[in-house]
Symmetry: none
Subunit: 217 residues, 4 copies
Amino acid sequence: MTESKLRELYEQNLRQMDNLTEKQQNILKAALSLFAEQGFDATSSSQIAKRAGVAVGSVYQHFHNKRELLMAVLTPLTKSVFSQAADQFIDKTLDKDYNSLEQFIRALVADRMLFISNNREEFKIMLGQLLSDNQLGPELNHAFNEQPKTTAFPIIDRLKKKKLIIDYPNDVIVQFVFGPLVTFFGKIILAIKPMPIDQEINYAVGLIVNGLTPRSN
Amino acid sequence: MTESKLRELYEQNLRQMDNLTEKQQNILKAALSLFAEQGFDATSSSQIAKRAGVAVGSVYQHFHNKRELLMAVLTPLTKSVFSQAADQFIDKTLDKDYNSLEQFIRALVADRMLFISNNREEFKIMLGQLLSDNQLGPELNHAFNEQPKTTAFPIIDRLKKKKLIIDYPNDVIVQFVFGPLVTFFGKIILAIKPMPIDQEINYAVGLIVNGLTPRSN
Amino acid sequence: MTESKLRELYEQNLRQMDNLTEKQQNILKAALSLFAEQGFDATSSSQIAKRAGVAVGSVYQHFHNKRELLMAVLTPLTKSVFSQAADQFIDKTLDKDYNSLEQFIRALVADRMLFISNNREEFKIMLGQLLSDNQLGPELNHAFNEQPKTTAFPIIDRLKKKKLIIDYPNDVIVQFVFGPLVTFFGKIILAIKPMPIDQEINYAVGLIVNGLTPRSN
Amino acid sequence: MTESKLRELYEQNLRQMDNLTEKQQNILKAALSLFAEQGFDATSSSQIAKRAGVAVGSVYQHFHNKRELLMAVLTPLTKSVFSQAADQFIDKTLDKDYNSLEQFIRALVADRMLFISNNREEFKIMLGQLLSDNQLGPELNHAFNEQPKTTAFPIIDRLKKKKLIIDYPNDVIVQFVFGPLVTFFGKIILAIKPMPIDQEINYAVGLIVNGLTPRSN
DNA sequence: AATGAATGAGCGTTCATTCAT
DNA sequence: CATGAATGAACGCTCATTCAT
């Protein structure tokens, strides 16, 4: 699946979203929960139909095959990760003139950790696809590479000028900040009961900030 | 699948390993690569047979069903993760009387990052199963919880006594150290070209150590 | 398979019978003839599909596995043998006040011999299953033991009181009457051309009646 | 399979029987019991090998395929039924100058009922084959038709001359005598516990004799 | 003679997808 | 639009049979 295809799909899906009948919405919900519970491959069309309370044929009325249904399920997520979220984030953080590293990290970590927590099912599905779909990886790769350049990098650069952040390459810093987030998600996958999310955030922020703060000597 | 079952499987597989004919070895290799490329469910028996250069029936001669084959593929990994690795690690680190935090972190990060790098295919497969097999999670969970208590926790405690490490809960510290390792694995999954592994290690160690080192004031 | 399961199956099949599409009816017919010709195990799903003129998948649309199809095929028989037949028989014979042994035997033999003749294919299938399915035997055993007690035994008792029948145990008498019926079925299995059925009945009735009639001295 | 083929097989098997190693004998025994328990189709070569305590390949050393093994198992039976038994019977009964019907019937029924009881496993297997193998029926049919003509018919004719037996066609009489025998075998198949064999014989003989004895008036 | 790994056709069954109603 | 019976390719797996050792 090329990027253009994804965008096409996304946009056609977006258009559909508005027209979606109640039955279609139910199909989407049923698919989401089943894909998350059992994986995409292990979920059959008839299972989706049953949980949605419709006939099998109805599943194929709007979503012309199972893969298209998967994309429709994933679309709001990719949208959130790569555009909406970014935009929101720029509004929230770039506009404010962050003077302290902690303010910046806390805002970012809190935002993303809640995002992960709220969209855990979609993330699980997406990760599952990532592992088996060899074309999905490079595409997200691109997004992961490009997005921070326009959002996080400028902030980091400003913090660097003020000597408020350690002088490591920007991508290394971003990657480091992502560590606790990814670990948090890992706990969800492993069904490890996380601490209350506030605590998770506090500990993560404390350690990241300490890690990124330059030593005086 | 209970833990005892897993151990049974592992031991019977180990016994088989020795008796394995060349064709059976090929089947194991073929299964490993195909599971990693496409996922377990998406890989058919006939595909495995074809890549191994054998007949379908031969796949089932020693591995009585596909799941047993999966276990045979994953066995060396689980072994390494949960026993061998732990044992080695205790030898390597506990015996030496680590005086500096960096020595400890570097030893651990280098060891585990190489381990991840060397077993990336098996890890991808295991993660894939984790997402769809609801019984695998809790089992590994247990291992993840218990193992550090006997290996890493004593070292952390000693470092705490010497004020060489920040006074956070032990499990939070362990989780934080795992962050860059998990992120590193994430890059592999996303097919993001990592830096040379030495650099990955150096940056990770630098940031983790800085994050865990107490501030004087 | 417990009796309740059989009854469940029977009732759910009965419900299906009405809903059965023409293709499904063809599947039932094809299965019946193939099971009778070749036995249950030796008949493949694809063979059934081919003879029914449908796709393999259609065989499994209503009958969820081959065994359920077998039961659907046998159901009309078990129904007739163990309920309908019994009921009819009670109506036909118990109500009439049989005064002569011959009347009773002739009614019974004629009825059952026609029944065997009309359902020879189903009987062959059932016998085949009886030989390989160790759970079917005891179940029918029960039915064979219980049914006569409520239908034939009272009549025999009355005939005994009137000294119209030999004073042997009731079950021995029933078993003796069944002899020619079973032999008749044996001829069908061996593809031995039977005589015209009227003759078969006349001879059997003559010999059975003579066998059961008490000698004066 | 033509009759000549059966005879060929039988004779070649007979020759083999003498050369049979202990392992081969075990294979024969294992096959017999398994075929009787589960049916021919449901019994796999490896199952036979396991029960016989040999390797799969050994099963095919003497018996070149499963069907040949079946024949080897069935041969002693067909032999007994159609030649040995007949010969023995002629010796036992024809030579004696039966004056009473009961003597004749008792000898015959006792002999055959014990024969059935002793060879119940082989009979079950043979019946199973009879139901699925459309070529076996006519062959046995022939044997069933021809054998009595040379053994039982002359005796019956002599009894008729002495007015000791009812004047029904010979084949009807034979068929009637077989009734209780077949019913007895039916009980074995249905796993219905029979009475002590002496009782079974006594009741059967009593009823058959009564059935075949002419009434004075 | 005995072994058991290897073979591949064939089995029962599933399921994404289509289409007449 | 919705339905669900029909389709047939594909799957996991079995097993009679072969053959190198």
